[in-house]
C-alpha cells in the first residue's frame, strides 16, 4: 500500500526533527532506564504545513448548552468536533522510537563512526540458522506446507486429483524438511567500567550529568556489542565497586585519590576480562581535583603502563563544579598530548553532554 511509503516518509521527517532537537532530549532525564528494545515516547510539536490562518486565541467559537456568561468552556483545541475554520489547538505529536533507533539518531547526529571491535577474530561463536528446504531431514523438521504443495502438484500433473474428493497422500518423494546451516559469527564482548569521583566537591548536578552521559554512552555501545557488561566504581580517598543504583546515589565527603579507583579498575580487568578477548572501555568522571600531584603521577603511570595499551580507549570526563580546580585534566593533557587512546572531555553543563559524547566516541575505537 502506498500509504506505507508516505508513512515512512513521515517517520523519517520525525526522526529528522528528533535529531535536530537531540540536545534537548539528551539533557533531560526522562528517557533514562529504558532498555534497547523498549520504546520511548518523545513529544514533538505537531509538524504542520504552514498557511495563512487565524490565530487561535482571538477567534472563539459557538457552543451549545446551559451556562452563564463567563463560564469556562474548556480548551476547544482538545477534543470536540473540528469545525470549518475552528482554530487549531497546539497539538502535540507523540512519536514512538525504540532505544535502538534513538541510538541510530544519536550516531547520525554526532557522526559517530562505527566501532571497530578488537579481538573479534579470535573468538567465534557457532550458530545454526534455518536457511532453506531439503529433501531429507528428521521428521521433527518436516515442512508441512511445501510437502503438501509438492504432493498436490504431483496429483494435479498426473491427473489423479479429484476435486470432489480432494484427498492428497504424500509419498517419500514429496517430503520437504527445513535445512539449516552453521554460521560462525564473530563474538564481540565488551565491558564498560564507570568510575566516578563522589567526593564532597561533586554535587547533585554533576552527578546527574554523569548519569545522563553514561546512559547515552551505554545506548550507543549497546548497539555495537550485544550483551554489554557494565561495572561501577565510586571513589573518594578510597574506591569500591558498587551496583548501578548506588553509583548514582552515593554522596561521600572527603578527599580524592584518583589512583584508588584506577587500581580497583585494573584489578577488575585482570580478574574478569582477559584483555585480548574483551573490548574494554573505562570511563572516569571527576571534577578534576586530585589530592596530590604525587597521586596524579601514579595515575599517569598506570595509564601509560596498563590502561592505554590494554583498553580500546580510556575516557576521562571532567565535570565542571564550583569547587573543583580542574587540575587533573590539565595534567593529563600535558602528559599525553593527543594520544589516540586517551579521550579527554570537559563537560561544562548539561548542554555539553552531546559534545562530550562526541569527544569520547568520535574516534570509533
Amino acid at each position: 500500500m502506498s500509504i506505507r511509503e508516505d508513512n515512512n516518509r513521515f517517520k523519517e521527517i520525525v526522526k529528522g526533527k528528533v535529531k535536530e532537537d537531540l540536545r534537548k532530549y539528551v539533557s533531560k532525564g526522562e528517557l533514562i532506564g529504558k532498555r534497547e528494545d523498549e520504546f520511548v515516547k518523545i513529544p514533538l510539536p505537531r509538524i504542520d504545513i504552514p498557511n495563512f490562518r487565524y490565530g487561535p486565541k482571538q477567534s472563539g467559537g459557538v457552543g451549545q448548552g446551559e451556562g452563564q456568561q463567563g463560564e469556562d468552556v474548556g480548551d476547544p483545541g482538545e477534543g470536540g468536533q473540528g469545525n470549518a475554520g475552528e482554530a487549531p489547538g497546539e497539538h502535540l505529536l507523540e512519536v514512538e522510537l525504540s532505544m535502538d533507533e534513538l541510538a541510530d539518531i544519536l550516531g547520525e547526529k554526532l557522526e559517530l563512526p562505527r566501532i571497530e571491535p578488537k579481538g573479534s577474530k579470535n573468538i567465534e561463536a557457532i550458530k545454526t540458522k534455518f536457511t532453506g528446504l531439503a529433501p531429507v531431514g528428521p521428521e521433527g523438521l518436516r515442512h508441512f506446507k511445501s510437502s503438501y504443495k509438492r504432493a498436490l502438484k504431483r496429483y494435479v500433473s498426473s491427473g489423479t486429483y479429484n476435486s470432489e474428493d480432494p484427498l492428497v497422500i504424500p509419498i517419500r518423494r514429496d517430503m520437504q524438511y527445513k535445512s539449516f546451516k552453521k554460521v560462525t559469527k564473530p563474538q564481540t564482548q565488551a565491558v564498560v567500567i564507570y568510575m566516578m569521583d563522589v567526593s564532597g566537591s561533586m554535587g547533585d548536578e554533576q552527578k546527574e550529568i554523569v548519569r545522563l552521559e553514561s546512559f547515552w554512552i551505554n545506548t550507543w555501545l549497546k548497539k555495537h556489542y550485544k550483551g554489554l557488561e557494565t561495572r561501577f566504581i565510586i571513589h573518594d580517598a578510597a574506591a569500591k565497586e558498587v551496583d548501578e543504583d548506588t553509583f548514582f546515589r552515593t554522596s561521600e565527603s572527603g578527599g580524592t585519590l584518583i589512583s584508588s579507583a584506577y587500581k580497583l579498575c585494573q584489578e577488575i580487568i585482570l580478574k574478569d576480562y582477559p584483555v585480548n578477548e574483551w573490548n574494554i572501555y573505562p570511563f572516569h568522571f571527576s571534577d578534576g581535583d586530585n589530592w596530590s600531584s604525587d597521586d596524579t603521577r601514579v595515575c599517569v603511570k598506570m595509564l601509560q603502563e596498563f590502561f592505554l595499551p590494554n583498553c580500546n580507549a580510556f575516557n576521562y570526563g571532567q565535570v565542571e563544579s564550583k569547587y573543583g580546580s580542574g587540575q587533573f585534566l590539565k595534567d593529563l593533557q600535558k602528559e599525553f598530548g593527543s594520544d589516540e587512546r586517551l579521550n579527554l572531555s570537559q563537560i561544562e553543563s548539561r548542554d555539553k553532554i552531546l559534545d562530550s559524547i562526541k569527544d569520547f566516541l568520535g574516534k570509533g575505537r
Binding site: 500509504i3 511509503e5 508516505d6 508513512n7 504545513i49 495563512f52 487565524y54 476547544p76 505529536l93
Partner: protein
C-alpha cells in the same frame, strides 16, 4: 466492484429503494467492505484510494491508526463525491451500524448530486487523483524525491489561497478599455474671463500630468484588479519550471475539488443525518435495534460547550425549516406577528416543509443556509452561545448568547471557509517586481509564526521579495520577506528615513 456479504447486499438493495421512495436522487452508489486499516488509509487520502505521494498523508494515517488502536476514534462512514459514488463500510461493524451508514451515505449522495455548489466538481475525480499521483511520481523519478516533496510542501502551504466562488462566475474574456475622464480636475468656471484665475495654466498642467500619471499607473498595474486566486496567478506568472507549474496546477485542481465540501459541511452532514434519522426510524430499523441506533445517533449529534457540531446544527436546522414551512411560519405576516401565543399556535397546515428542504439543499451553501434560516427562536431553543478567549483568566469562556452575536460568529467561521481572505494587490510592488499581498482584516489577527513561514514559501515561488499588509495587535503593518530577512514595518508611522 462491491464485495458485500449477501446480508449486507440485501440490506443495501432495500435501503436504496427506501431512499429512492423518500425522494432522494443519488448517483449509483457502490459500497465496499474494507478493513479498519484500509479505511484509515482511505481517510488519510481524503477518501481516495490513490493520491500523490506526500508525507502529510502518512502523518494523517499515523494519527488515525493510533486513535483507532487506542480506541479513541473510529471512522464509520466515508463517501466520495464521484459518479458513481463510492462509499466504504468497515468490516466488523454491527449490522445496525452498517445500515445507519448506508442510510447516511444516500443522504450525502443526493446532496453531492443535487447541490448547486457541487455542480462544477469533477465527478471522475478518482481517475484524476490517480492521474495526479502518476504525474507526481514521474517528477519524483526524474528530479528526485526531496526536490519534488519540498516543492509540494511549498504548494500545500498556499493551497487555501483560491477563490472559492470563481468556478461559478462566468467571466467575459473581453477586457474593457479603461474609461478616460477628460478634464475632471478642472474647477468649474462660470465666467469666461475668470478662467485663468480659477484654473491657472500652471495648476492645469500639473493636474493634467498627475491625472495622466494615475491613468498610466492604473493601466500598468499588474494585476489590474486584486486577485484572489493566488494559485492561479502564481501558476501563470511566477518563474517556475514546467513540472513545477504542473504540480501547482494539480494542487489547485484538488483544492477546488474539495472546496465545496468545506463550503457545505453543515448542510451536507445535516442533510445526511436528517435522512438517516428519518429513514432508520420509520422504515429500516427493527425493534431490537432501536436502542443501539439511539445511542449511536445521540453520540454523533452531541455538541460540546466548546465545539460547534455541524451534524447537530445541520439536522436541527433542516427539521426546523421543515416544521416552519409545514406550518406556514414564514413570510411577512409571520415576521410581523409579535403575539407570543399566536406564534406558538401558528399552523396554516401548508405542508410545504418537504418541498422546501429539498429546495434548500439544492441552492444553499452553509453561509446562505445559516444566514436565511438561523432564527432567534432556533438559537434560543438550541441554547447556542458564543465563547471567547479571556486574556485575564487565560481560559475560553462563555461570552454571550445574544442571537446576533451567535449568528455573526457562525457566519464568520464559514465565510471563505474560515480562512483569512488574502489577495494579490500588486505584482510589481515598489516597481521592483516584489509581490504585495493584502489581508482583509476582520477583527482577528493571523497566527504570526505561520504567517512568516507561509510568506517564506511564497517567496520560494515568486523568487522576489514578498510583502503582506495585515493588522497585527491593532496596528496595520507590512511584513516582508526578502529572501534573507523577515521584517516588519508599521504603516501608520512614517517609514524610517533611509540613510544613503
Amino acid at each position: 466492484m462491491a464485495n458485500l456479504t449477501p446480508e449486507l447486499e440485501a440490506e443495501r438493495v432495500r435501503i436504496c429503494q427506501i431512499a429512492k421512495d423518500a425522494g432522494l436522487d443519488c448517483f449509483e452508489t457502490i459500497f465496499e467492505l474494507i478493513t479498519y486499516d484500509q479505511i484509515n488509509q482511505f481517510a488519510a487520502y481524503g477518501g481516495f484510494p490513490v493520491r500523490y505521494p506526500h508525507w502529510k498523508f502518512g502523518m494523517e494515517y499515523e494519527h488515525l491508526s493510533k486513535s483507532y488502536e487506542y480506541g479513541l476514534s473510529k471512522i464509520y462512514e466515508m463517501v466520495i463525491n464521484t459518479d458513481p459514488c463510492y462509499a466504504y463500510l468497515m468490516e466488523g461493524n454491527a449490522m445496525m451500524d452498517q445500515k445507519l451508514v448506508m442510510a447516511h451515505v444516500y443522504g450525502h449522495c443526493d446532496f453531492f448530486k443535487n447541490n448547486v455548489w457541487f455542480s462544477k466538481t469533477n465527478r471522475k475525480m478518482m481517475d484524476q487523483m490517480a492521474n495526479h499521483a502518476t504525474r507526481v511520481r514521474r517528477y519524483m523519478d526524474r528530479y528526485g524525491i526531496d526536490v519534488v516533496e519540498n516543492f509540494l510542501d511549498v504548494c500545500l502551504s498556499i493551497e487555501n489561497l483560491i477563490d472559492r466562488h470563481s468556478p461559478y462566475i462566468e467571466t467575459s474574456s473581453v477586457r474593457q478599455a479603461p474609461q478616460v475622464q477628460e478634464n475632471n480636475y478642472l474647477l468649474r468656471v462660470d465666467r469666461d474671463y475668470m478662467r485663468d484665475y480659477i484654473n491657472p495654466p500652471a495648476y492645469v498642467d500639473e493636474q493634467k500630468r498627475r491625472s495622466e500619471h494615475e491613468a498610466y499607473m492604473k493601466a500598468h498595474r499588474f494585476p489590474s484588479e486584486p486577485e484572489k486566486d493566488i494559485l492561479k496567478f502564481l501558476m501563470h506568472n511566477a518563474p517556475l519550471a514546467d513540472w513545477q507549474v504542473d504540480i501547482l496546477t494539480l494542487i489547485r485542481e484538488e483544492a477546488y475539488y474539495f472546496a465545496p465540501q468545506g463550503m457545505t459541511k453543515t448542510m451536507n452532514e445535516g442533510w445526511a443525518s436528517y435522512w438517516h434519522s428519518k429513514l432508520m426510524t420509520t422504515k429500516i430499523l427493527n425493534d431490537s435495534e432501536i436502542i443501539d441506533f439511539a445511542d449511536h445517533h445521540a453520540g454523533t449529534m452531541a455538541m460540546a460547550p466548546n465545539g460547534y457540531n455541524p451534524y447537530k446544527v445541520g439536522i436541527e436546522l433542516f427539521r426546523n425549516i421543515e416544521e416552519r414551512w409545514n406550518k406556514g411560519q414564514f413570510g411577512r405576516e409571520w415576521e410581523e406577528c409579535d403575539d407570543v401565543r399566536a406564534r406558538k399556535n401558528w399552523d396554516l397546515k401548508l405542508n410545504l416543509g418537504r418541498e422546501k428542504i429539498f429546495e434548500v439543499r439544492k441552492v444553499c451553501n452553509d453561509v446562505t443556509f445559516i444566514d436565511q434560516f438561523l432564527t432567534e427562536d432556533f438559537c434560543l431553543k438550541n441554547k447556542l452561545f458564543v465563547y471567547k478567549f479571556n486574556k485575564k483568566t487565560q481560559k475560553f469562556e462563555i461570552d454571550t448568547s445574544n442571537f446576533k452575536a451567535v449568528k455573526a460568529q457562525i457566519l464568520f467561521h464559514m465565510t471563505n471557509f474560515g480562512q483569512p481572505i488574502i489577495k494579490i494587490e500588486d505584482a510589481n510592488f515598489e516597481n521592483r517586481g516584489e509581490l504585495l499581498l493584502s489581508h482583509l482584516h476582520e477583527g482577528i489577527d493571523m497566527q504570526p509564526d505561520f504567517m512568516s513561514e507561509t510568506l517564506k514559501n511564497v517567496y520560494k515561488l515568486w523568487k522576489r521579495p514578498v510583502n503582506i499588509i495585515t493588522v497585527m495587535d491593532d496596528s496595520p503593518q507590512l511584513f516582508k520577506f526578502d529572501g534573507r530577512d523577515y521584517t516588519t514595518q508599521k504603516l501608520n508611522e512614517e517609514p524610517s528615513t533611509k540613510t544613503s
